[in-house]
Subunit: 174 residues, 2 copies
Amino acid sequence: MNPVAGNVGGMALGKDYAAQDCSLARALEVVGERWTLLIVRDAFYGVRRFSDFLAHLDIPRAVLSARLAALVGTGVLAKDGHDYVLTDMGKELWPVVHTLARWAEDHLSAEPSRVFVHTDCDTRIGPDGTCPDCGRHVPPEELEIHAGPGVRRRTDPVSLVLRSPHRLLDPIRP
Amino acid sequence: MNPVAGNVGGMALGKDYAAQDCSLARALEVVGERWTLLIVRDAFYGVRRFSDFLAHLDIPRAVLSARLAALVGTGVLAKDGHDYVLTDMGKELWPVVHTLARWAEDHLSAEPSRVFVHTDCDTRIGPDGTCPDCGRHVPPEELEIHAGPGVRRRTDPVSLVLRSPHRLLDPIRP
């Protein structure tokens, strides 16, 4: 990427933080755009198809297209036929997705819509991503999503699949 | 907060993700706006004064005012006289700030501008926030910031202080 200095106001269209040398700023250029982390979250849930992201996120088609293209361009997602799949680099965003969600539950009175269970131990992981039972930092491949008390009864295809426990990263539609 | 349905396009001004029940969406309503996590990062560095945030972040005054007011409103920062100080809730964002920065270093070829050292062990903490020496998950109060190879020679007051090792959360200007 070749960041260019631009309008850095609150409503700026540019993605760069040109004057900031911090690596956090570089990360935010890639995942800091509106909706992007929610798309990444859905990819962890196993969403792979454009139409499923569209129905589950309920965002304009053009926004979803732009975000998916950017995520492929930066290597967070890879195209596999018509599917969008998290790369290894993308999977390493799991602690960010999980920590932010738990932070909201702890501090913003957000009721958990999804609860993450370490399948080996059948135990809900802690806010820092470790399993209270085995003490390990659990990778997403070993987690199962369960519906939490804050879940809404939506009827899009993704929400329907996620009414039952579902292994993280397993395709929502095999 | 009382989210209202609004324009959810990429350039939307609204902060809410009304159709998303996920607690991640709630977190992004609070910290997902442009510049907000960089302000939180600066607060971890010990920046407390409006003029110091302004000079170090190099953003428009109105944007900084709006972001600081929102962070105080949601309880991430508290006002202490003229100072903006991280609350306990705000301090729990440290793993998010640190993980995203390290992720950029690992995957986006971002050279570290700041390196975080566990003062007790004099050891750089790992990408997951634990100290390789003592194995503990290190809270920000026990970390010291050192200039990394990617740092720019900027001359604002914050950058000048951070040329020397500085304990996280200690005020940049005592």
